[in-house]
Symmetry: C2
Subunit: 215 residues, 2 copies
């Protein structure tokens, strides 16, 4: 849990990938310099979800990048991933912590300062600040909190905040300036024609934007 580089999280989303295989996409994103991987597969059956996590693990391990599983504590436990990211309709954080123990990462989405503070009090290791801007990737989200929301939410906690929602190379630097410890992207990497280049470009912005939160 020490020395996690929260700066550039790629959310590899099976539904957003449609028919494309996530494995080569993740490999390219890792080569481009993502520092954190979140695997999301809201509609996938348990076995292919677990198989996918198990396939991605050697890739992230050799890159020294943690793997976070969206929602599914069972997949995280069975695959040996590094943690989970939990939204409002996922397992309550206290229940997840009980199952995962203290050595796994738990991230919790927050849309308000109250939710952020509650997440930290509930044992979260980071907050997912969500959503920052409007985004095509996720439709069922709360209203965008904007750059001012990043300030508000990060001021309410001492743990790192990873901003997600509509972040790209044009606004990434501003997101860091507003207080985010990291950015999480789906489309900005997955939707790029050259995934590795897109990740590398974001990594460069992230490098020059600010020093990492906990390094």
């Amino acid at each position: 849990m020490n020395n996690i580089d929260w700066r550039l999280c790629f959310v590899a989303d099976v539904e957003a990938a449609r028919e494309r295989d996530l494995r080569p996409i993740v490999a390219e994103a890792l080569a481009g310099g993502i520092t954190l991987l979140q695997l999301r597969a809201k509609k996938l059956d348990t076995r292919p979800f677990l198989d996918l996590a198990l396939d991605l693990l050697p890739l992230v391990r050799s890159a020294g990048v943690p793997l976070i599983i969206n929602d599914r504590v069972d997949i995280a436990l069975a695959s040996g991933a590094d943690g989970v990211h939990l939204g409002r309709n996922d397992m309550p954080p206290a229940a997840a912590r009980k199952l995962l123990g203290n050595n796994k990462i738990i991230g919790i989405s927050a849309n308000s300062a109250e939710e952020a503070a509650a997440a930290e009090a509930g044992g979260a290791d980071y907050i997912g600040l969500s959503p920052i801007f409007g985004t095509p990737s996720k439709t069922d989200t709360d209203p965008p909190i904007g750059l001012s929301g990043i300030r508000r939410l990060t001021n309410a906690v001492t743990i790192p905040g990873i901003a997600i929602g509509g972040i790209n190379r044009d606004n990434a630097a501003d997101v860091f300036s507003a207080g985010a410890a990291g950015i999480a992207v789906i489309s900005a990497i997955m939707g790029a024609e050259d995934v590795r280049e897109a990740a590398a470009e974001l990594r460069q912005i992230v490098e020059s934007a600010r020093a990492p939160f906990s390094l």
Copy 2:
């Protein structure tokens, strides 16, 4: 794990219930005499699924009936349910056993003698013989194995076989005669006008059909 009464399993399926609340349906089914409850919710978010399991637990506990969770080891662990039922697209049984330990029930669906034997070798506590007949409740299943299939599959294992798929009061006795240790139903209970009466009627058939497997 000792003295489990496998004879009459009600599969409480959230999708099959459509908009109806499963809680009163399960309460009625328990009052009618089901001996095992399986909770299935393939499309429900984790939090409402867990909430539902936690709501059902006191009901089954006071009836002395075990609660099995379909597919989701995380829900089983977090709710304190008695085990899981795993299909082909769910977590591999060995991974589930590792997470659940030896005191929880693991049931595995089988459509052939080979699958049944593999399930027993893999540590299953019971086999789900599936499907026996055609059924409106589940569409993505293998071809029906019929009464001869029950004989074939149960002969391949020493653990109890619970038959599922199109079983009702008209064919339940035959299913036991063919070697099943129990029957599992969805529609025959959930689709009945009087859930308690339907469960009670099946229980009576089950009582007179044969002695329970492991009592």
